[in-house]
Symmetry: D2
Subunit: 224 residues, 4 copies
């Protein structure tokens, strides 16, 4: 069975270049490239940008984190319900910049699932990818921490971690979808990642901080 | 010198009754009561409600938490800059449901100050109130944890903790402003708190979960 | 294949009744009951008691937590190497009173494994038990948080959570061993837990805070 | 009033070179240098080394962290009572490698004080030093994070942070004692720090990882 749809998820983080008007510009280009190429491109945006982005664009908008708590006495928390109401279709969980306890991760995933939202659990190696897969998220996104923001693509520097993580995920959950991240910056990186068995990529700075994000986005889909 | 302005800050937490349309209804009533009474009433809202509330209402809108990080590679974080752009005039910090390390608390406060935003540091007792005062926030909000959500007002159950905390804050920072919280539910509670030397109150469930929040708000300001 | 060995692990927590001389008394009784019954009984002790207990007793002594860091610049951390040098044969990880991020949990487990120490990962439900099993610890110990310290035995109150957790663990890892905890207090509880497919039990207050811990220990093994 | 006693506190961290036999070697040298020079030298050791070091040496032995909880159901925690029973005379709190929430910091300090143990609260800048001083610990130890482990002495690189932190501490608590840390490696660094108004120094790698820790210790006290 061929997995046909490749998913490119751009994490806007808290970058100034990924907030407010700049987020809208990236969304405009992402939507355009997605329509031209047929590749699914999503944005993981800051909470305050979720609603305007969801309202103005057709591409999937993700949150970057949700707390696995119900509506209630949770000051400073963000519920799955709140991000759904803001128009998000899913959320990252357990990003390397926002690690969660195993219990909180499972609670966050459950909260997303109950709101019929997608989930992307970030992991740092083969073992944690297998553990994440056992929770049955929509995607497991493997990002070797030593390569995040390094400018060195995981698909070139350490292709084995991709193949081993894909294998580890599929052993626990044969239907499990895998994204790969860390250092992804070109269509070649994406192509390698997909050829190694992943369902897409998670990337951030190489798009968000690019002089011409549209050019990078077009390059990313160019070999698919 | 008499401190003339009393500040009533309503923490909407993640309550379903304090989100979306319900937040707008409470804001409508809060603005009306504030205009009638001359008492300053603010709302601490969820991130996703910050922008619509700020846009539609004149009363001060606060965030419930900010991360003391600059714009950058901080997935799932909320910067002071982002909440300012959403129209917030300040933020809670270190609420009992979102405690911070001392270093993160100071970084959050600094980030708010650099964005010219107000800060309300929540504390749990006399000693932590003094420590918070040494950081020079706009307000220190003392909330004895054993009384939060108890339905027992701190101003009746434990007035000494208010007077001792006010004294502790003023010893470290003679200009320090103090809010008091935990169990506040009536105009009488507010009156006692103000008479004991505080500059206002921080409260949540007794307004947000009330059948008639407007009636509670009118009662809260009735003896000022 | 019958799993012959049942493991009873007593968590001494930070109880005054489980520290120093009191820990030695419990160890004395545990060793005696273990020898009489042939049931393996271990103690998870405070760091400071690890070395004296390991030195004076034959029963397995566990730590209650290790940090997944190598020896180095980690002030206030406890390495797997340090607990091994103190004579411990393993450690709890991710107890409900000391939850870990997924990444830290995996790092802790890896550190224990490299030191040839046993690992008991505590979990709170079926899904996290499966995730923990994917990491391949020596034991997964399922403790429904609502029953911890409740005096209500999980094996009576919620036997399905035991059978489902055992199934979830074995689906991910057919060789995975499972302990069950929360509310275990008698030989009958232990018997039910073992009959439901677990390899033993993890318990604390019903032994440590008992007037006669030896009597409780003898009761625990009485139906095996 | 001249402050006569200078305190040199060596943080052994989790260094392999500061554990077990190696900790004993450093303690032997520290005791010898302390006796020769009259300078007070203490060691902050791992939990497992607290008891043997306290038993075999006269110099003050500190823990590196305590949890501000009473004896009880706190798995994997270390109480002030436990470190006192192990012979420690005090503890670090809030080291940069083990940051605490403000509430936990105050609770830890209170627990130490109730056990009549000394407390060294680590801070990262002037503002957090003032906040720590408001809690009235035995010492505030200021360590600019950018200089920790840098090999660049705070007393040379940034003497103003020392003078400003000392001033900030003394404004809140005129009797407050201040240690300074980060990059301290020679008698000259110690001399500068003391001349700038501090009561001693906190240091780690330059002693613990030295080829000849005794020589470094002798140098540290040489200009006092």
């Amino acid at each position: 069975m061929k997995r046909i749809v490749t998913f490119i998820l751009i994490n806007l983080k808290s970058y100034a270049e990924g907030t407010g008007q700049r987020a809208h510009q990236i969304a405009t280009m992402a939507q355009s490239v997605s329509e031209e190429s047929g590749v699914e491109i999503g944005l993981a945006a800051g909470y305050i940008d979720l609603h305007p982005l969801s309202r103005h664009f057709e591409i999937p908008i993700y949150a970057q984190h949700v707390d696995g708590v119900p509506p209630g006495a949770f000051t400073g928390h963000v519920t799955a319900s709140a991000v759904r109401q803001a128009g998000a279709v899913g959320s990252l969980l357990n990003h390397s910049e926002r690690r969660l306890t195993l219990a909180a991760l499972e609670a966050g995933l459950k909260a997303l699932t109950e709101e019929k939202l997608s989930s992307v659990i970030c992991t740092n190696n083969e073992a944690t990818s297998a553990a994440a897969a056992a929770l049955h998220p929509t995607y497991v996104a493997v990002e070797p921490p030593e390569l995040i923001g390094s400018g060195v693509s995981v698909s070139k520097a350490n292709p084995e971690i991709i193949t081993r993580s894909v294998a580890a995920v599929r052993e626990v959950n044969p239907e499990g979808k895998v994204l790969t991240g860390a250092g992804i910056q070109s269509g070649e990186c994406v192509k390698i990642a997909v050829d190694l068995g992943t369902d897409g990529v998670l990337l951030a700075s190489s798009v968000v901080k690019a002089k011409d994000p549209g050019a990078v986005l077009r390059d990313l889909v160019s070999l698919l």
